[in-house]
């Protein structure tokens, strides 16, 4: 279970997260939506321990992540994977080597076993043909899928997705969304998905949290969000220019 308790984060005097509290159940797919700059990625970074909140707590499976020692942080990260918005691939390694990296560095499996697992994940994400290509030779969408393959190869219990379908064509978006759902159904993976894509949000979510000005203004099932009476939520999900959200 992931718990954020009264998390606050400020950058240069600008409050990005304001007393954010939420509990994400094990095996749940929790989607965070909201305008750009409302603190969605910051929330993910706080959960992954890449950033510590100014105040408040981030608890993962009963262990405190924020301001924890290196060994606790490492232990918690062992069960966690992050799909970065940019893909975050190492540009001097091939696609295959990027996916194999966490296994190679862990030095537990044999070379043969690593190759088998890498091939399996690349096939799963329709990337097998690109195995020997460099990151600079593949598209942005492919980079994102390679990043997902690199996460899946570690079999994490928690996966954090930062805009997993942005920049993907509709067919690949569906492939990724199906895969996220499959990870939950078959392996009980807990997923936190940050997205702007409402179609994906409705398809994936057990619950959706709407983040606005660093606060969760509504957290509900997809149905509950669809039928929300909150004008800010309605404006966002319908993509309307006029409403309480100041687009200027």
């Amino acid at each position: 279970m992931i718990e954020l308790i009264e998390v606050n984060k400020t950058f240069n005097g600008r409050t990005v997260l304001k007393n954010l509290s939420v509990s994400i159940q094990t095996g749940e797919t929790f989607v965070v939506i909201g305008m750009s700059g409302t603190g969605k990625t910051v929330t993910l970074k706080n959960i992954s321990g890449l950033m510590d909140p100014d105040s408040g707590q981030v608890i993962i499976d009963g262990m405190k992540m924020n301001n924890s020692s290196g060994s606790i942080r490492k232990k918690l990260r062992e069960k966690m994977g992050v799909v970065f918005q940019s893909g975050a691939l190492l540009n001097w390694l091939t696609v295959g080597e990027n996916v194999a990296l966490p296994l190679v560095e862990r030095r537990v499996l044999t070379g043969e076993e690593i190759s088998r697992q890498v091939e399996e994940k690349l096939k799963l994400l329709h990337l097998y043909e690109a195995m020997d290509r460099m990151p600079s030779e593949i598209s942005g969408g492919m980079k994102k899928r390679v990043c997902l393959a690199r996460v899946l190869v570690r079999n994490p219990e928690i996966i954090l997705y930062d805009e997993p379908t942005s920049g993907l064509d509709p067919v690949m978006s569906t492939v990724i969304n199906e895969l996220i759902r499959r990870m939950q159904r078959e392996f009980g993976v807990t997923s936190v998905v940050v997205t702007h894509d409402m179609e994906s949000a409705y398809f994936l979510a057990d619950r959706i949290a709407v983040l606005h000005n660093g606060e969760i203004i509504q957290c509900d099932t997809p149905e509950g969000i669809r039928n929300s009476v909150n004008p800010t939520v309605q404006q966002f999900i319908r993509g309307e220019i006029k409403g309480p959200i100041d687009v200027d």
Binding site: K45, R77, V82, F84, Q85, A88, L89, E105, R106
Partner: protein
């Protein structure tokens, strides 16, 4: 006026504290790097790749700079020594200058400008494009994976580059000594050997090894602290070059002070 003075003092104080913090970060980074040298064998291919980048690719530049450094040194010293009729000692003066100071310092300058700057830019780009974050999430230490191979590679390449600069410098100096100062190759060679003191050579090599550690750890530290996209990477690169120059000068002086306080 009082407010203005307070503001300036606050700016100076903030700058001093941030510089101190960054220095501490760099020293800790270097210590962590030294700790991870236990993974030297595991990372040997990456170290070799970095040595190739740092060494082989900069050798054309090193050759030209070293050759002309020796030629200039020979010409300037030769003119002065000829005035006193002491030009036969030109080889001795050139080799002493090169092995003690010019060799390590020239190697440092070239490698700061080429390898150190590239290192800061590369690590900085990785930082702003979330690649370092990705490594941390995968429980891969960026120090072990990125910094250690680069620091060790540069520390090993620097003494080799220094020996090469010394050799090329003497070669250039010998040619100018022969053509412009009328010192024969035999005489130049004889006095070069006379002036080559073991202590000067090993202190020069030690100095270049330490320079290598300093330049690479400073460059990586600046890269790891980069933020704010391409502008941040640019600032990190510039700051790493400036900090490396200053550090090389200060460290170079203190190594000289420690080893040559009582002469050769």
């Amino acid at each position: 006026m009082k407010k203005w003075i307070e503001e300036q003092l606050a700016i100076a104080g903030r700058y001093f504290i941030s510089t101190l913090e960054f220095s501490g970060f760099t020293v800790i980074l270097l210590l962590k790097t030294l700790y991870y040298t236990k993974n030297f064998i595991q990372k040997r291919h990456e170290i070799a790749r970095q040595m190739f980048n740092a060494g082989v690719r900069t050798f054309p530049v090193l050759s030209i700079v070293a050759l002309f450094t020796g030629m200039v040194l020979s010409l300037q010293l030769g003119i002065e020594m000829k005035y006193y009729g002491q030009e036969k000692y030109l080889g001795q003066a050139v080799i002493a200058t090169l092995t003690r100071e010019m060799g390590p310092f020239t190697a440092a300058i070239i490698l700061i400008a080429s390898v150190g700057a590239a290192m800061a830019a590369e690590v900085g780009t990785m930082k702003v494009s979330e690649e370092i974050d990705a490594l941390e999430i995968m429980s891969i230490s960026p120090v072990k994976f990125l910094v250690m191979p680069r620091v060790i590679a540069l520390a090993l390449v620097m003494p080799i580059a220094t020996v090469y600069i010394n050799f090329m410098g003497v070669l250039g100096a010998a040619v100018v000594a022969n053509s412009h100062v009328n010192v024969s190759f035999d005489v130049f060679y004889f006095y070069t050997l006379q002036g080559m003191h073991f202590k000067a050579v090993y202190v020069g090599l030690l100095k270049s090894f330490v320079f290598g550690l300093c330049i690479s750890s400073i460059s990586c530290a600046h890269g790891l602290k980069a933020d704010n996209g391409a502008i941040g990477v640019g600032h990190a690169t510039r700051d790493s070059v400036v900090a490396s120059f200053i550090t090389v000068l200060i460290v170079g002086y203190y190594i000289t002070e420690i080893f040559f306080r009582h002469g050769l």
